[in-house]
Protein backbone atom coordinates (compact mmCIF):
# COMPACT_ATOMS: atom_id res chain seq x y z
CA UNK A 1 0.00 0.00 0.00
CA UNK A 2 2.78 2.35 1.01
CA UNK A 3 4.71 1.72 -2.19
CA UNK A 4 1.62 2.23 -4.34
CA UNK A 5 1.18 5.68 -2.83
CA UNK A 6 4.84 6.49 -3.50
CA UNK A 7 4.38 5.77 -7.19
CA UNK A 8 0.93 7.21 -7.71
CA UNK A 9 1.60 10.94 -8.10
CA UNK A 10 4.47 10.68 -10.56
CA UNK A 11 2.62 8.11 -12.63
CA UNK A 12 -0.39 10.42 -12.89
CA UNK A 13 1.81 13.31 -14.02
CA UNK A 14 3.60 11.13 -16.55
CA UNK A 15 0.30 9.75 -17.83
CA UNK A 16 -1.05 13.23 -18.47
CA UNK A 17 2.09 14.23 -20.39
CA UNK A 18 2.09 11.07 -22.48
CA UNK A 19 -1.64 11.33 -23.12
CA UNK A 20 -1.24 14.92 -24.35
CA UNK A 21 1.61 14.01 -26.65
CA UNK A 22 -0.20 11.06 -28.21
CA UNK A 23 -3.41 13.07 -28.66
CA UNK A 24 -1.39 15.77 -30.36
CA UNK A 25 0.18 13.14 -32.62
CA UNK A 26 -3.27 11.79 -33.51
CA UNK A 27 -4.68 15.26 -34.25
CA UNK A 28 -1.66 16.04 -36.38
CA UNK A 29 -2.08 12.80 -38.29
CA UNK A 30 -5.79 13.45 -38.77
CA UNK A 31 -5.16 16.93 -40.15
CA UNK A 32 -2.52 15.62 -42.52
CA UNK A 33 -4.81 12.81 -43.65
CA UNK A 34 -7.66 15.24 -44.09
CA UNK A 35 -5.49 17.64 -46.09
CA UNK A 36 -4.40 14.84 -48.34
CA UNK A 37 -8.00 13.88 -48.74
CA UNK A 38 -8.87 17.47 -49.68
CA UNK A 39 -6.00 17.66 -52.10
CA UNK A 40 -7.16 14.48 -53.78
CA UNK A 41 -10.65 15.84 -54.22
CA UNK A 42 -9.65 19.38 -55.04
CA UNK A 43 -9.19 20.32 -58.65
CA UNK A 44 -8.98 23.37 -60.84
CA UNK A 45 -10.81 23.57 -64.15
CA UNK A 46 -9.03 25.23 -67.04
CA UNK A 47 -10.60 26.28 -70.33
CA UNK A 48 -8.36 26.46 -73.37
CA UNK A 49 -8.87 27.46 -77.01
CA UNK A 50 -6.44 24.84 -78.20
CA UNK A 51 -5.52 21.42 -77.07
CA UNK A 52 -2.79 21.33 -74.43
CA UNK A 53 -0.87 18.11 -73.94
CA UNK A 54 -0.60 16.77 -70.40
CA UNK A 55 3.19 17.10 -70.51
CA UNK A 56 2.92 20.71 -71.51
CA UNK A 57 0.42 21.43 -68.75
CA UNK A 58 2.57 19.78 -66.09
CA UNK A 59 5.46 22.02 -67.11
CA UNK A 60 3.44 25.15 -66.34
CA UNK A 61 3.43 24.59 -62.59
CA UNK A 62 5.19 21.98 -60.46
CA UNK A 63 2.31 21.60 -58.01
CA UNK A 64 0.14 19.93 -60.66
CA UNK A 65 0.08 16.19 -60.17
CA UNK A 66 -2.16 15.12 -63.02
CA UNK A 67 -4.35 16.44 -65.77
CA UNK A 68 -7.67 15.08 -66.91
CA UNK A 69 -9.32 16.23 -70.11
CA UNK A 70 -13.07 16.63 -69.77
CA UNK A 71 -14.85 15.06 -72.75
CA UNK A 72 -16.82 17.65 -74.74
CA UNK A 73 -19.82 15.31 -75.02
CA UNK A 74 -21.22 16.57 -71.74
CA UNK A 75 -21.18 20.09 -73.07
CA UNK A 76 -22.68 19.19 -76.36
CA UNK A 77 -25.41 17.17 -74.78
CA UNK A 78 -26.68 20.30 -73.22
CA UNK A 79 -26.95 22.11 -76.57
CA UNK A 80 -29.81 20.28 -78.21
CA UNK A 81 -29.39 17.25 -80.39
CA UNK A 82 -30.73 18.22 -83.82
CA UNK A 83 -27.29 18.30 -85.30
CA UNK A 84 -26.12 15.74 -87.71
CA UNK A 85 -23.08 13.68 -87.12
CA UNK A 86 -20.79 15.54 -89.47
CA UNK A 87 -21.59 18.90 -87.98
CA UNK A 88 -21.36 17.45 -84.55
CA UNK A 89 -17.77 16.41 -85.15
CA UNK A 90 -17.01 19.84 -86.49
CA UNK A 91 -18.53 21.41 -83.44
CA UNK A 92 -16.49 19.18 -81.22
CA UNK A 93 -13.35 20.45 -82.86
CA UNK A 94 -14.28 24.12 -82.52
CA UNK A 95 -15.38 23.89 -78.90
CA UNK A 96 -12.83 24.99 -76.34
CA UNK A 97 -11.08 22.26 -74.37
CA UNK A 98 -11.81 21.67 -70.70
CA UNK A 99 -9.17 20.33 -68.33
CA UNK A 100 -9.29 19.26 -64.74
CA UNK A 101 -6.00 19.76 -62.87
CA UNK A 102 -5.18 17.75 -59.73
CA UNK A 103 -2.56 18.92 -57.21
CA UNK A 104 -0.01 17.11 -55.09
CA UNK A 105 -1.01 18.77 -51.86
CA UNK A 106 -3.73 20.95 -50.49
CA UNK A 107 -2.78 24.47 -51.63
CA UNK A 108 -2.67 27.62 -49.55
CA UNK A 109 -4.40 30.70 -51.01
CA UNK A 110 -0.94 31.92 -52.04
CA UNK A 111 -0.23 28.65 -53.81
CA UNK A 112 -3.40 29.15 -55.81
CA UNK A 113 -2.47 32.68 -56.80
CA UNK A 114 0.91 31.52 -58.02
CA UNK A 115 -0.63 28.62 -59.88
CA UNK A 116 -3.08 30.90 -61.67
CA UNK A 117 -0.30 33.22 -62.67
CA UNK A 118 1.75 30.37 -64.09
CA UNK A 119 -1.20 28.94 -65.97
CA UNK A 120 -2.06 32.25 -67.56
CA UNK A 121 1.39 32.29 -69.16
CA UNK A 122 -0.03 29.90 -71.69
CA UNK A 123 -1.87 32.21 -74.08
CA UNK A 124 -4.43 29.67 -75.20
CA UNK A 125 -5.86 29.33 -71.70
CA UNK A 126 -8.86 31.63 -71.52
CA UNK A 127 -10.41 30.80 -68.18
CA UNK A 128 -9.33 29.32 -64.87
CA UNK A 129 -11.90 28.24 -62.34
CA UNK A 130 -10.26 27.66 -58.93
CA UNK A 131 -13.37 27.43 -56.70
CA UNK A 132 -11.42 29.83 -54.51
CA UNK A 133 -14.24 30.74 -52.19
CA UNK A 134 -15.02 27.20 -50.99
CA UNK A 135 -11.39 26.40 -50.87
CA UNK A 136 -10.62 29.48 -48.82
CA UNK A 137 -13.17 28.70 -46.08
CA UNK A 138 -12.06 25.08 -45.81
CA UNK A 139 -8.47 26.14 -45.54
CA UNK A 140 -9.16 28.76 -42.88
CA UNK A 141 -11.18 26.27 -40.86
CA UNK A 142 -8.34 23.81 -40.95
CA UNK A 143 -5.85 26.42 -39.78
CA UNK A 144 -8.22 27.49 -37.01
CA UNK A 145 -8.63 23.89 -35.88
CA UNK A 146 -4.88 23.36 -35.79
CA UNK A 147 -4.38 26.54 -33.77
CA UNK A 148 -7.07 25.61 -31.28
CA UNK A 149 -5.49 22.19 -30.77
CA UNK A 150 -2.09 23.81 -30.39
CA UNK A 151 -3.30 26.26 -27.74
CA UNK A 152 -5.08 23.46 -25.94
CA UNK A 153 -1.92 21.35 -25.94
CA UNK A 154 0.12 24.29 -24.67
CA UNK A 155 -2.25 24.92 -21.78
CA UNK A 156 -2.25 21.26 -20.78
CA UNK A 157 1.56 21.17 -21.03
CA UNK A 158 1.92 24.19 -18.78
CA UNK A 159 -0.46 22.72 -16.20
CA UNK A 160 1.45 19.44 -16.31
CA UNK A 161 4.75 21.25 -15.90
CA UNK A 162 3.39 22.93 -12.77
CA UNK A 163 2.26 19.53 -11.55
CA UNK A 164 5.74 18.13 -12.16
CA UNK A 165 7.40 21.06 -10.40
CA UNK A 166 5.19 20.54 -7.37
CA UNK A 167 6.00 16.84 -7.53
CA UNK A 168 9.69 17.71 -7.66
CA UNK A 169 9.45 19.64 -4.41
CA UNK A 170 7.66 16.74 -2.72
CA UNK A 171 10.28 14.36 -4.01
CA UNK A 172 13.08 16.60 -2.87
CA UNK A 173 11.57 16.70 0.60
CA UNK A 174 10.77 13.00 0.72
CA UNK A 175 14.06 11.72 -0.60
CA UNK A 176 16.38 14.25 0.97
CA UNK A 177 15.97 12.73 4.41
CA UNK A 178 16.80 9.20 3.35
CA UNK A 179 19.69 10.34 1.16
CA UNK A 180 21.12 12.39 4.03
CA UNK A 181 20.92 9.52 6.49
CA UNK A 182 22.54 7.15 4.00
CA UNK A 183 25.23 9.77 3.48
CA UNK A 184 25.89 9.89 7.23
CA UNK A 185 26.67 6.19 7.06
CA UNK A 186 29.05 6.72 4.15
CA UNK A 187 26.92 5.76 1.15
CA UNK A 188 28.41 7.20 -2.04
CA UNK A 189 26.11 9.45 -4.04
CA UNK A 190 25.25 6.78 -6.64
CA UNK A 191 24.06 4.42 -3.92
CA UNK A 192 22.09 7.18 -2.20
CA UNK A 193 20.28 7.98 -5.43
CA UNK A 194 19.93 4.41 -6.74
CA UNK A 195 16.52 4.00 -5.11
CA UNK A 196 15.36 7.26 -6.60
CA UNK A 197 16.42 6.30 -10.11
CA UNK A 198 14.92 2.86 -9.75
CA UNK A 199 11.66 4.43 -8.64
CA UNK A 200 11.79 6.87 -11.57
CA UNK A 201 12.43 4.12 -14.10
CA UNK A 202 9.75 1.84 -12.67
CA UNK A 203 7.24 4.71 -12.74
CA UNK A 204 8.17 5.52 -16.32
CA UNK A 205 7.66 1.89 -17.33
CA UNK A 206 4.34 1.62 -15.49
CA UNK A 207 2.96 4.80 -17.03
CA UNK A 208 4.16 3.78 -20.50
CA UNK A 209 2.43 0.43 -20.24
CA UNK A 210 -0.75 2.09 -18.99
CA UNK A 211 -0.73 4.60 -21.84
CA UNK A 212 -0.09 1.79 -24.37
CA UNK A 213 -3.14 -0.04 -23.06
CA UNK A 214 -5.25 3.12 -23.15
CA UNK A 215 -4.37 3.90 -26.75
CA UNK A 216 -4.63 0.30 -27.92
CA UNK A 217 -8.14 0.41 -26.52
CA UNK A 218 -8.86 3.77 -28.17
CA UNK A 219 -7.53 2.57 -31.52
CA UNK A 220 -10.03 -0.30 -31.53
CA UNK A 221 -12.92 1.71 -30.16
CA UNK A 222 -15.90 1.66 -32.55
CA UNK A 223 -16.96 5.24 -31.86
CA UNK A 224 -13.47 6.60 -32.57
CA UNK A 225 -13.20 4.60 -35.79
CA UNK A 226 -16.60 5.86 -36.85
CA UNK A 227 -15.49 9.48 -36.45
CA UNK A 228 -12.58 8.95 -38.80
CA UNK A 229 -14.81 7.07 -41.20
CA UNK A 230 -17.21 10.00 -41.26
CA UNK A 231 -14.36 12.30 -42.21
CA UNK A 232 -13.41 9.83 -44.88
CA UNK A 233 -9.86 9.55 -43.60
CA UNK A 234 -7.66 6.73 -42.39
CA UNK A 235 -5.62 7.58 -39.28
CA UNK A 236 -3.30 5.33 -37.32
CA UNK A 237 -4.27 6.06 -33.71
CA UNK A 238 -1.37 4.19 -32.15
CA UNK A 239 1.65 2.81 -33.92
CA UNK A 240 2.82 -0.14 -31.83
CA UNK A 241 6.48 0.38 -32.73
CA UNK A 242 7.11 4.07 -33.36
CA UNK A 243 4.60 5.58 -30.94
CA UNK A 244 5.35 3.21 -28.09
CA UNK A 245 9.08 3.80 -28.46
CA UNK A 246 8.58 7.56 -28.52
CA UNK A 247 6.29 7.57 -25.49
CA UNK A 248 8.56 5.22 -23.57
CA UNK A 249 11.56 7.41 -24.33
CA UNK A 250 9.73 10.58 -23.29
CA UNK A 251 8.49 9.13 -20.02
CA UNK A 252 11.95 7.77 -19.20
CA UNK A 253 13.55 11.13 -20.00
CA UNK A 254 11.02 13.08 -17.92
CA UNK A 255 11.20 10.87 -14.85
CA UNK A 256 14.95 10.35 -14.93
CA UNK A 257 15.45 14.11 -15.37
CA UNK A 258 13.19 14.61 -12.38
CA UNK A 259 15.26 12.15 -10.34
CA UNK A 260 18.50 13.81 -11.49
CA UNK A 261 17.17 17.21 -10.41
CA UNK A 262 16.36 15.79 -6.99
CA UNK A 263 19.88 14.37 -6.70
CA UNK A 264 21.46 17.65 -7.82
CA UNK A 265 19.29 19.61 -5.40
CA UNK A 266 20.13 17.26 -2.54
CA UNK A 267 21.61 19.03 0.46
CA UNK A 268 23.16 17.25 3.36
CA UNK A 269 21.70 18.11 6.72
CA UNK A 270 24.00 19.38 9.44
Amino acid sequence: MKSVKNHFSLIIALLSILFCIQIFIIVDRSIEAYKENLANNYSIVVVSKKQIKEKEMLLLDESISSVQELPPDNVIKRLNTNIDKKNMNLLKLTLPKFYKLYLYKFPTPDDIKKLKLNLSKNKSITKIEDFAKTHDTTYKLLVLFKNVVFIFAMVVSIVTMLLILKELRIWQFKHNERMSVMGLFGAPIWLRSAILFRLAIVDALISSVLIFLIFIYISTNKWVLLQFQNLNIKVEVFNLVNDSLLLLAISLIVSVTLAAMVVLGHKEEV
Binding site: K174, R178, V181, M182, G183, F185, G186, P188, E268, V270
Partner: protein, 223 residues
Protein backbone atom coordinates in the same frame (compact mmCIF):
# COMPACT_ATOMS: atom_id res chain seq x y z
CA UNK B 1 48.50 3.82 22.34
CA UNK B 2 46.63 4.34 19.06
CA UNK B 3 44.42 7.40 18.83
CA UNK B 4 41.07 7.27 17.05
CA UNK B 5 40.58 11.01 17.35
CA UNK B 6 43.18 13.76 17.62
CA UNK B 7 41.97 17.36 17.72
CA UNK B 8 44.51 20.18 17.77
CA UNK B 9 43.28 23.71 18.45
CA UNK B 10 40.00 23.13 16.69
CA UNK B 11 37.32 25.79 16.55
CA UNK B 12 33.78 24.96 15.48
CA UNK B 13 31.19 27.44 14.30
CA UNK B 14 28.01 27.58 12.21
CA UNK B 15 28.38 31.26 11.34
CA UNK B 16 30.98 34.00 11.60
CA UNK B 17 29.62 35.76 14.69
CA UNK B 18 29.41 32.80 17.06
CA UNK B 19 32.06 30.23 17.94
CA UNK B 20 30.68 27.09 19.58
CA UNK B 21 33.99 25.34 20.35
CA UNK B 22 37.02 27.56 20.75
CA UNK B 23 40.54 26.25 20.06
CA UNK B 24 40.03 22.98 21.87
CA UNK B 25 42.51 20.13 22.24
CA UNK B 26 41.15 16.66 22.61
CA UNK B 27 42.08 13.09 21.89
CA UNK B 28 40.48 9.67 22.18
CA UNK B 29 42.41 6.42 22.61
CA UNK B 30 41.48 3.47 20.49
CA UNK B 31 39.19 1.12 22.36
CA UNK B 32 38.30 3.61 25.09
CA UNK B 33 34.91 4.63 26.44
CA UNK B 34 34.36 8.39 26.60
CA UNK B 35 31.58 10.46 28.11
CA UNK B 36 30.98 14.08 27.12
CA UNK B 37 28.75 16.18 29.35
CA UNK B 38 27.75 19.82 29.34
CA UNK B 39 24.77 22.12 29.66
CA UNK B 40 22.18 22.13 26.94
CA UNK B 41 23.40 24.32 24.09
CA UNK B 42 27.04 24.06 25.17
CA UNK B 43 28.09 22.42 21.91
CA UNK B 44 28.14 18.68 22.65
CA UNK B 45 26.24 17.71 19.49
CA UNK B 46 28.32 20.15 17.48
CA UNK B 47 31.54 18.50 18.65
CA UNK B 48 30.16 15.06 17.81
CA UNK B 49 29.13 16.29 14.34
CA UNK B 50 32.68 17.39 13.68
CA UNK B 51 33.89 13.82 14.36
CA UNK B 52 31.95 12.45 11.40
CA UNK B 53 32.63 15.39 9.13
CA UNK B 54 29.16 16.96 9.19
CA UNK B 55 30.82 20.27 10.04
CA UNK B 56 34.40 21.22 9.32
CA UNK B 57 36.61 22.96 11.88
CA UNK B 58 37.12 26.61 10.92
CA UNK B 59 40.62 26.29 12.29
CA UNK B 60 42.97 23.66 13.68
CA UNK B 61 43.48 20.04 12.75
CA UNK B 62 41.04 17.22 13.37
CA UNK B 63 42.12 13.67 12.59
CA UNK B 64 39.59 10.84 12.90
CA UNK B 65 40.60 7.27 12.05
CA UNK B 66 43.71 8.64 10.39
CA UNK B 67 41.74 11.00 8.13
CA UNK B 68 42.32 14.77 8.35
CA UNK B 69 38.79 16.18 8.42
CA UNK B 70 39.55 19.88 8.09
CA UNK B 71 40.33 19.20 4.44
CA UNK B 72 38.76 15.96 3.25
CA UNK B 73 37.45 14.73 -0.08
CA UNK B 74 33.91 13.36 -0.40
CA UNK B 75 35.18 9.87 -1.18
CA UNK B 76 37.50 9.76 1.80
CA UNK B 77 34.79 11.07 4.11
CA UNK B 78 32.37 8.40 2.87
CA UNK B 79 35.05 5.79 3.44
CA UNK B 80 35.55 6.99 7.01
CA UNK B 81 31.83 7.12 7.72
CA UNK B 82 31.44 3.50 6.67
CA UNK B 83 33.52 2.61 9.73
CA UNK B 84 31.60 4.79 12.17
CA UNK B 85 28.25 4.03 13.79
CA UNK B 86 26.21 7.06 14.79
CA UNK B 87 23.26 7.23 17.16
CA UNK B 88 21.46 10.53 16.71
CA UNK B 89 19.56 12.51 19.27
CA UNK B 90 16.51 12.43 16.97
CA UNK B 91 17.18 8.80 15.86
CA UNK B 92 17.18 9.68 12.13
CA UNK B 93 15.54 6.41 11.12
CA UNK B 94 14.26 6.16 7.57
CA UNK B 95 10.50 6.37 7.88
CA UNK B 96 9.58 4.54 4.69
CA UNK B 97 11.74 1.54 5.56
CA UNK B 98 10.94 -1.28 7.95
CA UNK B 99 12.88 -1.73 11.18
CA UNK B 100 14.75 -4.62 9.58
CA UNK B 101 15.75 -2.59 6.54
CA UNK B 102 16.85 0.33 8.71
CA UNK B 103 19.20 -1.92 10.64
CA UNK B 104 20.52 -3.42 7.40
CA UNK B 105 21.40 -0.09 5.84
CA UNK B 106 25.05 0.22 6.96
CA UNK B 107 25.64 -3.42 5.98
CA UNK B 108 24.27 -2.78 2.49
CA UNK B 109 26.39 0.35 2.16
CA UNK B 110 29.45 -1.68 3.20
CA UNK B 111 28.63 -4.27 0.56
CA UNK B 112 28.14 -7.29 2.79
CA UNK B 113 26.71 -10.50 1.38
CA UNK B 114 23.01 -11.19 1.73
CA UNK B 115 23.43 -14.18 4.04
CA UNK B 116 25.80 -12.26 6.33
CA UNK B 117 23.35 -9.35 6.45
CA UNK B 118 20.46 -11.67 7.30
CA UNK B 119 22.33 -13.32 10.18
CA UNK B 120 23.62 -10.07 11.59
CA UNK B 121 20.21 -8.37 11.51
CA UNK B 122 18.55 -11.33 13.15
CA UNK B 123 21.04 -11.40 15.99
CA UNK B 124 20.80 -7.63 16.49
CA UNK B 125 17.00 -7.71 16.56
CA UNK B 126 17.28 -10.30 19.33
CA UNK B 127 19.76 -8.15 21.23
CA UNK B 128 17.55 -5.07 21.18
CA UNK B 129 14.45 -7.20 21.92
CA UNK B 130 12.63 -6.16 18.74
CA UNK B 131 12.41 -9.45 16.89
CA UNK B 132 8.62 -9.35 16.75
CA UNK B 133 8.67 -5.76 15.41
CA UNK B 134 11.03 -6.41 12.47
CA UNK B 135 8.44 -5.72 9.78
CA UNK B 136 7.06 -2.56 11.34
CA UNK B 137 7.86 1.01 10.35
CA UNK B 138 9.68 3.43 12.72
CA UNK B 139 6.66 5.60 13.38
CA UNK B 140 4.74 2.56 14.60
CA UNK B 141 7.20 2.18 17.50
CA UNK B 142 7.63 3.99 20.82
CA UNK B 143 10.54 6.40 21.35
CA UNK B 144 12.46 3.82 23.36
CA UNK B 145 11.98 1.20 20.68
CA UNK B 146 13.08 3.61 17.94
CA UNK B 147 16.22 4.42 19.88
CA UNK B 148 16.96 0.70 20.20
CA UNK B 149 16.61 0.38 16.43
CA UNK B 150 19.01 3.29 15.98
CA UNK B 151 21.45 1.55 18.33
CA UNK B 152 21.19 -1.73 16.43
CA UNK B 153 21.85 0.16 13.19
CA UNK B 154 24.93 1.85 14.63
CA UNK B 155 26.31 -1.52 15.76
CA UNK B 156 25.38 -3.55 12.68
CA UNK B 157 28.56 -3.11 10.62
CA UNK B 158 30.95 -3.54 13.56
CA UNK B 159 32.31 0.00 13.33
CA UNK B 160 35.62 1.01 14.88
CA UNK B 161 33.96 4.04 16.46
CA UNK B 162 30.49 4.62 17.84
CA UNK B 163 29.23 8.17 18.36
CA UNK B 164 26.06 8.37 20.44
CA UNK B 165 24.26 11.66 21.10
CA UNK B 166 22.15 11.38 24.26
CA UNK B 167 21.16 7.80 23.44
CA UNK B 168 19.10 7.49 26.61
CA UNK B 169 17.86 11.08 26.57
CA UNK B 170 14.28 10.52 27.64
CA UNK B 171 13.93 6.79 27.57
CA UNK B 172 12.28 4.43 30.01
CA UNK B 173 14.50 2.51 32.44
CA UNK B 174 14.25 -0.72 30.46
CA UNK B 175 15.37 0.79 27.12
CA UNK B 176 18.12 2.81 28.81
CA UNK B 177 19.58 -0.24 30.49
CA UNK B 178 19.47 -2.19 27.24
CA UNK B 179 21.36 0.55 25.44
CA UNK B 180 24.08 0.84 28.10
CA UNK B 181 24.50 -2.94 28.01
CA UNK B 182 24.93 -2.91 24.25
CA UNK B 183 27.48 -0.08 24.33
CA UNK B 184 29.37 -1.79 27.13
CA UNK B 185 29.32 -5.08 25.23
CA UNK B 186 30.65 -3.51 22.03
CA UNK B 187 33.43 -1.82 24.01
CA UNK B 188 34.56 -4.82 26.02
CA UNK B 189 34.02 -7.61 23.48
CA UNK B 190 34.74 -5.91 20.14
CA UNK B 191 37.10 -3.20 21.43
CA UNK B 192 34.94 -0.60 19.72
CA UNK B 193 35.77 2.97 20.68
CA UNK B 194 32.70 4.63 22.13
CA UNK B 195 31.92 8.31 22.61
CA UNK B 196 28.66 9.13 24.35
CA UNK B 197 27.14 12.55 24.91
CA UNK B 198 24.92 12.41 27.96
CA UNK B 199 23.44 14.37 30.84
CA UNK B 200 23.98 11.65 33.37
CA UNK B 201 26.70 9.02 33.51
CA UNK B 202 25.10 5.70 34.51
CA UNK B 203 26.31 4.27 37.82
CA UNK B 204 25.89 0.66 36.74
CA UNK B 205 28.58 0.75 34.07
CA UNK B 206 31.38 -1.85 34.40
CA UNK B 207 34.02 -0.22 32.21
CA UNK B 208 36.77 2.32 32.73
CA UNK B 209 35.80 5.52 31.07
CA UNK B 210 37.04 9.01 30.43
CA UNK B 211 34.86 12.00 31.18
CA UNK B 212 35.04 15.35 29.38
CA UNK B 213 32.95 18.39 30.11
CA UNK B 214 32.17 21.26 27.73
CA UNK B 215 31.66 24.75 29.06
CA UNK B 216 31.97 28.17 27.36
CA UNK B 217 33.43 26.61 24.25
CA UNK B 218 36.18 24.76 26.09
CA UNK B 219 36.63 21.05 26.71
CA UNK B 220 37.73 20.05 30.23
CA UNK B 221 38.97 16.61 31.22
CA UNK B 222 37.17 15.58 34.43
CA UNK B 223 38.48 12.04 34.87
Amino acid sequence: MDKVIVANDISLSYNANETIINQANFSVDSGSFVFITGASGSGKSTLLKSFFGAIKPIQGSLIVGGVELSDVSKNKLNFLRRHIGIVFQDYKLIKEWTIEKNIMMPLIINGYEKSVIQNQVESLLKHVRLKHQAGKYPLELSGGEQQRVAMARALSHNPILILADEPTGNLDEYSSQLIWNLLEGANTQLKTTIIVVTHRIPSTLNVNYKHYHIEYGEIYEIS
